[in-house]
Amino acid sequence: MIDYLTLKFIWWLLVGVLLVGFAIMDGHDMGVGTLLPFVGKTDAERRVAINTVGPHWDGNQVWFITGGGAIFAAWPLVYATAFSGFYWAMLAVLWALFFRPVGFDYRSKIANPTWRSTWDWGLFVGGFVPPLIFGVAFGNLLQGVPFHFDDTLRPYYTGSFWALLNPFALLCGVVSSAMITAHGGHYLMLRSEGEIFERTRLGALACGIVALVCFVGAGFWVQALPGHVITGGADAAALPNPLDKTVALVAGGWLHNFKNMPLLWSVPALGIAGLFMGGLMAWVRRPGLAFIASSLAMTGIIGTAGIAMFPFIMPSSSDPASGLTAWDAVSSHFTLGLMFGATVIFMPLIIFYTSWAYKVMAGKVTLDFIRANDKKAY
């Protein structure tokens, strides 16, 4: 079996992979949901947009569910502390997501315009709110979250919901929302034509520019934030106990990983270059390349946030020693090994049959298709 320290690091990478997978896969259908009311002017146009993701949104959403499950299994303390601490933010994500399954399936079952437009806005909420909140959550993680543990490792969150909506966190929310919407736009361009294509192109361009500007802005801002650094206590390979370390706050500390390993600057560079290329490819009407570029951009952006905090996952602002790291918030050696094995076996299978599903459904969704499949299509 792989040694404990390596497995802890592998799981830090794997959770990153799941987050990136979620952003690329569920992100593109959420982006389509966000764009839906704006790029579809008529009912048939909206149905085109919805049916580009109709066969896939459910499978894509499992990236979110599995991400949650994997965090539960690999980082139980993060799952417990973050979800109970960010209680109302989590509920807002859940309740926004409620609109998606029913929105997709029920919308076109009744021909009433009010009914359909209500569900369209539901799909908008389901696409817009979760990425926004995830971005805000990352913005708060980078600033540290007010929580601590007692001796029995019971987490106590001492902040309020409204404090989460601070300027830096909102900026991160905009980055997240704009990059996901641009990415969804690239996908919608790939699967549509005519006026929807053109409107989406402009939307995706605008979102790409916003994401680029805000990501660079957040990058400068982050230098002013105190970073958390482990100064002593338990060894990284030790049995996990988050109370067994000392932590110092260092100005500009979130850049120290980049300073120690300059090669890592390629990750934020990938974010910037990806956003730029995504916009450029959308401009020259090459949606396939734009989609690949925005996928790489999100890999870079999520990677940047992760590397900045590494090994911290959830730093504590009120009791820094309680902060959760990739070394001390993890499951047992046995469980990490087991879950790694399960991921190695099933992830390639998932990618295989998901690709097959996209291949079967490939091609543009047209207005003619909607007219011909009035009863069958979403």
Binding site: P55, H56, D58, G59, Q61, V62, F64, I65, T66, G69, F72, A73, P76, L77, Y79, A80, T81, A82, F83, S84, Y87, M90, L91, L94, W95, L97, F98, P101, V102, F104, D105, K109, I110, D151, T152, L153, R154, P155, Y156, L239, N241, L243, S331, S332, F334, T335, M339, A342, T343, F346, I350, Y353, T354, A357, V360, M361, D374, K375, K376, A377
Partner: protein
């Protein structure tokens, strides 16, 4: 901090969201396989009507599935939001099956459901059938992993407490997977899902036959539901009995409560058919008993005793006293201020009483410093280990009675299907129509018996419910509970509206032109003389 109000509200919210979720799950589990059967008929015979059946029942399946997904997302995240300490304490074990469920099953089900609905024109017949099968397989595999997780809550095998990490840790994964409690629960639960879906199809088909419409479509659907339902009703009873047997082995308290067994009876114990359990005085009034039956069902022997409630409670009193020592030693071991000598002294005490740690934690509800635990408090905590008997006793009996009623319904439906005169048996058709809510009632009762019967534990014998909650304020939970109830009720209303609308429309909702607009006379030719033929399809 962890007030009784907070704990009760958290429990209520979990119960409400789980019971809502379970309104949709059983139908999904069973319907998926009924769709496989219908589509297999289509692939084997090439007859259009079977494809129409797959698509029409698939439409109703989809309406139900959407809410199953909606309410399911909540379940995945609620452990973290509302049961944070539980998530920390057992995440090492409990998180694994949930994550594997996502990787192995939920991806499969959710990816292929898209192709099920949208792949008809893009896949060959055989490939589409494969897609439908993988969807059904995925949804049932999901149930397996969820019930492995749930089975571990009832019977926590393959794991050990570590005082260093202050949590339960996995020691034997296969023991968790092949936990007899989990396996028995899985087969019983999916069979219940198959019964639910069969009653659903049988009832709606019966209604079409009673109305004299879409007969060829309805009769074929009826026969498939009757055959599948009969097999499922048999298995739900047999496997329910298996479930009961494993309960006897591993969850004696639950068994004693659902059977209202106050005293340990000399083997073989009688089965109490009817009684009024009296929690106050710990006895049954007006009991009607079947001699020997309980001993035979529960232990499959004539000489093994099944412990009664009073005996279990007395035993638990001792375990709580022993567990209190484990808790005190653990607190020393965890105390950052305690000296090395004190910790060294505490370790052997902890190891000696570790097996009763969970029982010691029960006292935390009443007193924070367990040095102050009086014999009265210990007796009170021991009394808490017995769930209320009357609701368990009655919920279980009602569920079993419904199980046998389904068996009777399907046996008759299958018998008259084989004789091919079921369209004349209007009493049977009406019975089926009126029975449509019953499987849902039975499923919810079953859930209630399993989960309420586990109280006062979230992990039986390991972690008390009152310690498992998140450190939130009751106001938070009032708010979220109101949100969930409001949201779910609204969505349930929409779902029921669509379900009824499309069930009434029938296969004409497919827009194929083959149903509804077919002249009534052409259909009536195939109607048996006894069938009432008063409604025209155009009425809908």
């Amino acid at each position: 901090m962890l007030t009784e109000e907070l704990v009760d509200l958290s429990r209520l919210q979990f119960a409400v969201t789980a019971m809502y979720h379970f309104l949709f799950v059983p139908l999904t589990l069973g319907m998926a396989f009924i769709l496989v059967i219908m589509e297999s008929c289509y692939v084997l015979t090439g007859r259009q009507v079977y494809k129409d059946m797959t698509q029409f029942w698939g439409k109703l399946f989809g309406i139900n599935f959407a809410l199953g997904v909606t309410t399911g997302i909540t379940m995945e995240f609620q452990f973290g939001t509302n049961w944070a300490y539980y998530s920390h304490y057992v995440g090492d074990i409990f998180g694994a099956p949930l994550a594997i469920e996502g990787l192995m099953a939920f991806f499969l089900e959710s990816t292929f459901i898209g192709l099920f609905f949208f792949g008809w024109d893009r896949l060959s017949k055989q490939k589409h059938l494969l897609v439908t099968f993988l969807m059904a397989f995925g949804s049932n595999l999901s149930a397996l992993w969820i019930l492995i997780a749930n089975g571990w809550m009832q019977d926590p095998v393959g794991s050990e407490f570590s005082y260093v990490t202050m949590r339960m840790e996995l020691t034997d994964f296969w023991a968790v997977v092949f936990n007899p409690t989990a396996q028995a629960k899985f087969v019983h639960t999916v069979s219940a899902g198959y019964v639910t879906a069969s009653v659903f199809v049988l009832a709606i088909s019966s209604w079409y036959i009673l109305k004299g419409r879409d007969l060829e479509f309805a009769k074929r659907s009826f026969r498939i539901a009757a055959a599948f339902g009969f097999a499922s009703a048999c298995s739900v009873i047999v496997l329910g009995d298996e479930s009961g047997y494993t309960v006897t082995e591993s969850q004696q308290t639950k068994l004693a409560a659902m059977e209202g067994m106050w005293e340990t009876h000399a083997a073989p114990a009688p089965f109490t058919l009817f009684a009024l359990p009296d929690d106050q005085n710990q006895k049954n009034r007006y009991a009607v008993e079947i001699p020997w039956a309980m001993g035979i069902i529960g232990t499959r022997s004539l000489d093994k005793e099944i412990p009664g409630i009073k005996e279990i409670e007395a035993e638990n009193r001792e375990r709580i006293a022993s567990g209190a020592k484990a808790v005190l030693a653990l607190e020393t071991l965890r105390n950052r201020q305690a000296g090395a000598a004190a910790k060294e002294a505490a370790l052997p005490v902890f190891e000696a009483h570790k097996a009763d740690l969970g029982f010691g934690l029960l006292l935390k509800q009443y007193v924070d410093d367990l040095n102050q635990a009086t014999p009265e408090l210990i007796a009170r905590a021991a009394a808490d280990t017995i769930p209320k008997v009357a609701p368990m006793f009655w919920a279980f009996r009602l569920m079993v009675a419904l199980g046998f009623a389904f068996f009777a319904l399907f046996a008759l439906a299958l018998y008259y299907s084989l004789k091919d005169n079921f369209t004349e048996k209007t009493w049977l058709l009406r019975w089926a129509v009126w029975f449509i809510p019953m499987p849902w009632i039975a499923c919810e009762l079953g859930w209630f018996v399993a989960e309420y019967g586990r109280q006062p534990w979230t992990i039986y014998g390991v972690l008390p419910t009152h310690l498992s909650v998140s450190s939130l304020t009751p106001a938070n939970i009032y708010g979220s509970l109101a949100g969930f109830v409001g949201f779910y009720t609204l969505l349930l209303g929409v779902e029921m509206y669509l379900m009824v609308k499309f069930a009434r429309k029938g296969p004409s909702s497919l827009g194929t032109g083959r149903y509804g607009d077919v002249p009534f006379a052409a259909q009536a030719a195939t109607v048996s003389p006894g069938t009432p033929a008063k409604n025209h399809p155009s009425d809908f």
